[in-house]
């Protein structure tokens, strides 16, 4: 995993969550009259994190909800014979369990933040930098055509999210009487493009054969954009090489 695949909002929120943990840890420590050993307290927090939790799929993300504080129970069992020590470390154990909710909040918060900075229905999220953009042919029905980067850059702001008619696109291919030379609706891929900085977005960008549409496959489903003018050149000869 390279740096470009890191989602900055999630990174920042996670760092904030860790800082919150540190502050809470320090607060507990400061107020205690009988101080614990710091390294032991940290270990107790880490064990306290251990919990039984429910994984809840929500908006293409898995939300982890801690339910049973297994780590806290384990620590309670370990310290069952020395009650005064347990009183010293108890709060740290619960801090560990509580951190599960802190990270739950992080994931919940990252959704609107990401939506704000990286809206799914905007092409710029996926195609922010096109310096090294070029096309490759994925299917024999694609013709040697060249990408007009300027036109694509111009149309990016104007391209509109459109409806994916997956079943129709699929079946129209097979209606073609020419069994051996089927036409693919998206015979090209746009490569060498970078997503918006910090989005961590990865995608496969398919280009439609009329040079006006982009179908973008992401880990969270697909987006389809249409332009009014084509951004491919040399499409006129709709002929097959083979």
């Amino acid at each position: 995993m390279t740096f470009s695949h890191i989602n900055i909002p999630i990174l920042i929120l996670s760092v904030l969550a860790w800082i919150t943990m540190g502050v809470l840890f320090f607060q507990i420590y400061k107020r205690q009259i009988e101080k614990p050993k710091v390294w032991k307290a940290i270990l107790v927090v880490i064990i306290g994190i251990f919990s039984f939790s429910i994984n809840w799929p929500m908006l293409n993300q898995v939300i982890k909800i801690p339910i049973l504080p297994l780590g806290v129970w384990l620590l309670y069992f370990i310290y069952r014979k020395s009650v005064d020590k347990w009183l010293v470390y108890r709060k740290y154990a619960w801090l560990g369990f509580f951190s599960g909710y802190l990270f739950l909040a992080t994931s919940l918060l990252s959704l609107p933040v990401n939506h704000l900075f990286y809206p799914k229905d905007q092409l710029e999220t996926y195609l922010a930098n096109m310096e090294n953009a070029h096309m490759i042919i994925l299917h024999p029905s694609g013709v040697e055509s060249s990408l007009n980067k300027e036109k694509l850059e111009q149309s990016i702001g104007q391209m509109e999210p459109s409806t994916i008619y997956s079943d129709e696109w699929y079946s129209e291919t097979y209606m073609d009487p020419d069994e051996k030379n089927k036409s693919e609706r998206f015979p090209y891929q746009l490569v060498g493009v970078n997503p918006k900085i910090g989005s961590g977005m990865v995608s496969t960008v398919y280009v439609e054969r009329d040079g006006k549409g982009l179908l973008i496959s992401t880990p969270n489903g697909q987006q389809y954009f249409r332009s009014k003018m084509p951004f491919l050149e040399g499409l006129k000869e709709e002929k097959r090489d083979e």
């Binding site: 490759i136 994925l138 994916i164 609706r185 998206f186 990865v202 496959s217």
Partner: protein
């Protein structure tokens, strides 16, 4: 030096030596490849059934992976896969037949893949078309549509005098594979079945032709026994039928 300082000094010295040793052991540059005679005896010692009699060539994928096609006593053509591992050139797998195999030497670089083959000359294969294929597909769930375009990319290889060879998969294939790998990987990380990595559903296939450009049936290249010494990532390269092509 007092005692404490001595302990610190000795333990840091020990740590440096240990790290240097580990580094040397795992990361030092490979040394010369074994001689043909050594290759043959190593293989026959590990897998007597192979009966390797002649080394045809040594083809390097990178500095620590080599493909060695060979001939056997019985006149069969086979493949062996050599890896620089633990300061030694070791054979990972010996195959008694030479049908094309897709070799991914470093699983962390899933798109750096090589096709290797050693076709029996009696099969009269003159050329091979390799294909990267992904089947067209669509899904609709809860009104959300997904359309997977058909991918079919071709790379032709002419065998000429040499019936064996290696080919790093073409750049355009790498680009497609890379992007779909990353999408698939992140999809897995955010799915509820988190640990289960679904392999991307493309595959690499081959179609052999004879001198007249007709389909060849390379029977001699597909039947053989193999021996696995240690794991490397190999993928079967499927036959592509004409009716699968668009």
């Amino acid at each position: 030096m007092n005692r404490k300082q001595t302990i610190y000094f000795m333990s840091s010295l020990f740590l440096i030596v240990a790290l240097a040793t580990v580094y040397w052991f795992y990361f030092s540059a490979p040394k010369a490849f074994p001689s043909e005679q050594q290759l043959i005896s190593k293989m026959n010692a590990l897998f007597a059934e192979a009966e390797v009699s002649e080394i045809l060539d040594e083809l390097f994928l990178d500095e620590s992976h080599a493909y060695v096609p060979f001939k056997t006593d019985k006149g069969a053509y086979g493949s062996s896969y050599w890896v620089w591992k633990n300061r030694k050139w070791q054979v990972s797998t010996i195959e008694g037949s030479g049908q094309p195999i897709l070799w991914t030497p470093n699983e962390r670089k899933p798109s750096k893949q090589f096709l290797v083959w050693n076709i029996d000359p009696n099969d009269e294969v003159d050329s091979i078309d390799f294909y990267l294929i992904k089947k067209r597909n669509y899904f609709v769930s809860d009104g959300i549509h997904t359309y997977e375009p058909q991918v079919q990319m071709k790379h032709a290889v002419i065998l000429k005098e040499k019936n064996y060879g290696i080919l790093q998969i073409p750049n355009d294939w790498v680009k497609f594979i890379d992007s779909s790998y990353h999408v698939q990987k992140q999809k897995t990380q955010t799915s509820i079945f988190g640990d289960f990595f679904q392999q991307p559903n493309h595959y690499i296939g081959w179609r052999p032709y004879d001198r007249n450009g007709k389909d060849a049936f390379p029977e001699g290249s597909v039947n053989g026994n193999g021996y696995v010494n240690f794991h490397q990532k190999f993928d079967h390269v499927m036959f592509v039928n004409e009716n699968e092509l668009e």
